[in-house]
């Protein structure tokens, strides 16, 4: 059956990030267990992270920053967080727009529940300012 997708903050489709002003994206994946499967990929650079890349995998919370490191910065990059439910039934994905001053804006926050063959891709375009 289809994934149940419940947005708290809906995917805006496009996110402007003023990297020159210290803005960057902070990703959080909360997983229900037992073994999360997901990938964070970029249209420009391909696969950036897999769940198994994180120390302590499998675990309940995965977090990483994107665009904080200058090598991440790509104009008009499509970012995709693709989660799979083969061995993990529930996820919550959150993307925050942070800056060096400590300000945070929630870009998207979505709960997912699915069955083993389900996938839930979530993607948006990043426009660097």
């Amino acid at each position: 059956m289809a994934v149940t997708r419940t947005p708290t903050v809906e995917n805006p489709g496009v996110v402007k990030v003023a990297t020159s002003k210290g803005q960057y994206l902070h990703f959080i994946v909360d997983a229900g267990g037992p073994i999360p499967i997901f990938t964070f990929a970029s249209s420009a650079k391909g696969v950036l992270y897999e769940a198994s890349d994180f120390s302590g995998h499998p675990k309940t919370k995965y977090e990483w920053d994107h665009l904080k490191n200058p090598s991440d910065i790509q104009q008009l990059d499509e970012l995709e967080l693709r989660i799979a439910f083969l061995t993990n039934a529930k996820y919550t994905c959150t993307v925050d727009l942070n800056d060096d001053a400590g300000n945070t804006t929630v870009v998207l926050q979505i709960d997912y529940a699915g069955t083993p063959m389900d996938k839930a891709p979530e993607s948006f375009t990043v426009v660097i300012q």
Partner: protein
Amino acid sequence: MLAVILLYPVSAWTQSEPGVNGWIDKQIDGLLDKQLVGQNGQGSDKQRESPAADSRSTSLVDQSSATDFFSVAANVIPVTPGLSQFVSSTGSSGNTSGAAGSTTATASLYALLAGLNKVNPTDPKFYAEHVFSRRFSFTIGTAASTLATDNSDTPATVYGAKVLLINARELYTKANLARIKQAQEANANAAKASAALKLQVKKLIFAALNPASVDANGEPSDLDSFAAFIKDHLASDANFQATLSSLSTETNKRIQTLIENSLAAFSQERAVFRQKYDEISKAQQLSISYAADIRDAKGNNYHRAELIFDYGLSPRINWTVNASADYTDRKTSSDSKGGRFATSFQGNLTQPDSAWGKNPITLTFSGEGRWQTGQKPQYTFESKLTIPLVPGVELPLAYRYANRIEQINQTDSEARMGLSVDISRLAHAFK
């Protein structure tokens, strides 16, 4: 939590994001569906009902694994007279009143450890660190007694324990971790292809509708305009539908070509997930169990030591075999000893609505042969329909037929109804 992988279907779904991204996902699924030759199903291997040794159980055959967490089963009523109206081996006819019910609760050692540690049993770290504890489960409960059948009208205490000796469906075996790694790799390849495809489609639509705002290579020349276009025309379903209907046939064809040219990674992802799901869910399980109905000083005690084997014939059909040694300890007449062989096929008729939602409707056909000292062989057949009422609550309806008067008084058949509650699933539904 292994139930999550074992109880759910293999039909693939990709949840839609809003707007153009979701539309692309649906196009991909649609094209992949066309490629699908057959649809598999799912396994059903978790016993949530009372042990078969309980003569009031709606389960004629035991399954190798119990719930991962905690479940309760009540065998409410034999809705027609029959099997529970036992006739003792001495041949005296039984008094049937009050022979109906039994209630048992089953918990895994894992669930008990999670409770003692005040940890959510689905916590990945805890789950990974306590693989061994999921091999053990315990059952306790009561079963009604009658003077005629049990030499006592005091309810029996039901005890049971089960140990999974071989559990090839456990996620944390070396082989299954390797399978999960392959699934992760397929997911990564699809994510990479999906990100690239979605950006290409967005740029193509933008260029088609805003030819003055792209450069010679078709790239957006004004990034703010492109960002605004995505936000206003592509991000929501309603806006995207209007945008889609305004595209020319040529642009639509180019989008379809882009999608079709990217299908390989998505096709591979679906195939790998299906293959790994099948490999894990159809794997073998072997367990040993002991179950007993213990009564007061005068009542009969029933003991069963059992070997249980499960094998997934397909993701929708699970085959189970039981071989057991049975012992009836009678206080006022001679004991019975013997063996029992039983087998069942459990098939899922429907697919569940979500991971923690209702289980599928299952249809089970079972057969049992019992050979006891001082008795002629007894053969019993059962068909059972298990209907999920709400997530975590199921209603098993069984029709049982047996050949021997030793098991059946007056009629050769009986219908039974029970109720099983998976506490974890039920609690999850109310979260």
